[in-house]
Amino acid sequence: MENNMVHLKIDGQDIEVKKGTTILEAAKQAQIDIPTLCFLKDINEVGDCRMCIVEVEGRRGFATSCIEKVQEGMVVHTNTPNVTEARRVVLDLIISNHKVDCLTCTRSGNCELQNLARKFNVLDVEFKGKITEHEIDDLSPSIVRDFDKCILCRRCVATCKKVQGIGAIDCINRGFDSCVSTVGNKSLKDVNCTFCGQCIEACPTGALHEKETTRRSMGKIKRSRYICCSANSTSGKGSSW
């Protein structure tokens, strides 16, 4: 049993965890919270966004804590000024190519990117340059995709492929042109999507959301009131639809 345990130090705390544990998980066991963005437990563990970076003594550069496994004698620091500044830069870069219309976004208040920006005091976007522009796909009866809010975390892709075994969406192109797309860049209504919506549940931002029909309902309430008046007078029934 002893051989299966690894000893390390995180933010000055001596801890013992099972071999094969990630730094992120080890920190959690010691009640230390490390911020994440692309990470989705058991589904998307790819070390893509670099929000979870930490410093490891004796190492050049940062370690990506959501995928890096602990090692015997490791000394980890999760919130040095270097780490905090690097995370702020990462966020700055992501936001620099994000359609920031938070006031009118369905996810405002429940957006993981917005929460991190607040937490890391991103008050200004330093990097200004070209911004990717895509058409919104709202042709299916269920799902709307707004690529300009996509941060390429791949949580939706992993959910569709691994959890549901469908693979209706995947990443295409490289570098600045990377985006999540479908076969032949078709609308979700024309591909093998089942409209289960698990991708929406996985999305940290407003890039994926349901097709809103609340205004239709409210409109009908107003109109049906009118209808019900006439229905009442003709049928004489007290019910109103």
Binding site: K41, V183, K186, K189, F195, P204
Partner: protein, 354 residues
């Protein structure tokens, strides 16, 4: 307006309440305040689904026909089998999903009883699901030229409507669903979790097969969060093999077993979303952090099981409203009128339109 079982144990989360809080009463009050004239319980529709599905299952079992029978109330799952395994479509139960059944009954039985012109009714379903938005528009979901359901909104959308109307949800008093279609059973409540539809149908099927009012109604074997739950049950002296799967990767495993002839089950429940409707694509979104620290599925599902336990009536066929509507209007499960209103057909569907 009608509301699905899984909505009532999740809606509160959008207003800062604990995960799994049962907010049925407050939800009804909020819907009334929003201006909906009648608020009904989709659970009553679920009771009809169980009656029809249990009847269909008993018939298939007697005649050893198209077994195993697979449930059909998850529209994402139905679209999946239509696209990927059209050759297995005869195994699918012909039952419409609960809210579609209920919509069809509202625009026929209820409209007639209340003297309302069905073309002037506007039926909205609040669902934990976004595939229901697609299901609603299927041409098979029409009767006399009218869609059974006119609009589907998700749990999240309802929360937004309540916020928009400036209603303080947490402080609302409780209300009750409207009569005469307001009472539902415990069986219907557990429709919202994986294994629940099967458990509900088995409660009715075992009474039908034995002709008795059996007390053993909890089927622990099909509860819990596993993606695939297999069980062998003894019902009316017969050994019945069942399996409940949730998440489409797990559905695929079961379908491959059926396709290759390895499967020896008689009854299969499949839900597209992992964990069933409580974890549906229209439910409140939980951050990565919450998902890794809390078992959201369990909290919401436990709340549904506790609604079941507290229910006076826990078997669908004992619901007095159903008895009444079958007596007055539908005759019996599987009758001509029931087939017309409550059952549907499926079609092979191309995966890609290119």
């Amino acid at each position: 307006m009608q509301t699905a079982p899984a909505v009532r144990v999740a809606l509160g989360e959008e207003f800062g309440m604990k995960i799994g809080s049962n907010v049925t009463g407050q939800m009804i009050t909020a819907l009334k305040r929003l201006g909906f004239d009648r608020v009904f319980d989709t659970n009553t529709g679920a009771d009809f689904t169980i009656m029809e599905e249990a009847n269909e299952f008993v018939e298939r079992l007697k005649n050893n026909y198209n077994l195993p029978m697979i449930t059909s109330c998850s529209p994402g799952w139905v679209k999946y089998i239509e696209m990927n395994y059209p050759e297995l479509l005869p195994h699918l139960s012909s039952c419409k999903s609960p809210h579609e059944m209920f919509g069809a009954l509202l625009k026929s039985y209820y409209a007639k009883k209340e003297g309302i012109d069905p073309s002037k009714m506007y039926v909205v379903s609040v669902m934990p699901c976004i595939a229901k938005k697609f299901e609603r528009q299927r041409l098979e979901m029409k009767n006399n030229g009218l869609y059974d359901v006119d609009n589907v909104i998700t749990t999240r959308e309802l929360a937004r409507m309540i916020k928009q109307a400036n209603i303080d949800f947490v402080e609302l008093e409780d209300s009750k669903f409207d009569d005469p279609m307001g009472e539902a059973t415990g069986s219907a409540a557990i429709f919202g979790t994986t294994g629940g539809v099967m458990e509900a149908a088995l409660r009715t099927a075992q009474d039908t097969l034995t002709g008795k009012d059996l007390e053993k109604i909890e089927f622990e074997q099909v509860r819990g969060g596993d993606g695939i739950k297999r069980a062998t049950l003894n019902i009316a002296g017969k050994e019945i093999k069942v399996v409940a799967a949730s998440g489409l990767s797990n559905a695929k495993i079961i379908l491959e077993e059926i396709k290759s002839g390895k499967a020896d089950y008689q009854f299969v429940e499949i839900m597209a979303c992992p964990g069933g409707c409580v974890m549906g694509g229209g439910q409140p979104i939980k951050s990565s952090k919450i998902r890794s620290e809390v078992d959201v599925r369990k909290l919401r599902a436990d709340s549904l099981y506790s609604i079941d336990e507290k229910s006076h009536i826990r078997k669908s066929h004992e619901n007095p409203i159903l008895k009444k509507i079958y007596e007055e209007y539908l005759e019996k499960p599987g009758s001509y009128r029931a087939e017309k209103l409550l059952h549907t057909t499926y079609q092979k569907r191309e995966k890609y339109n290119i």
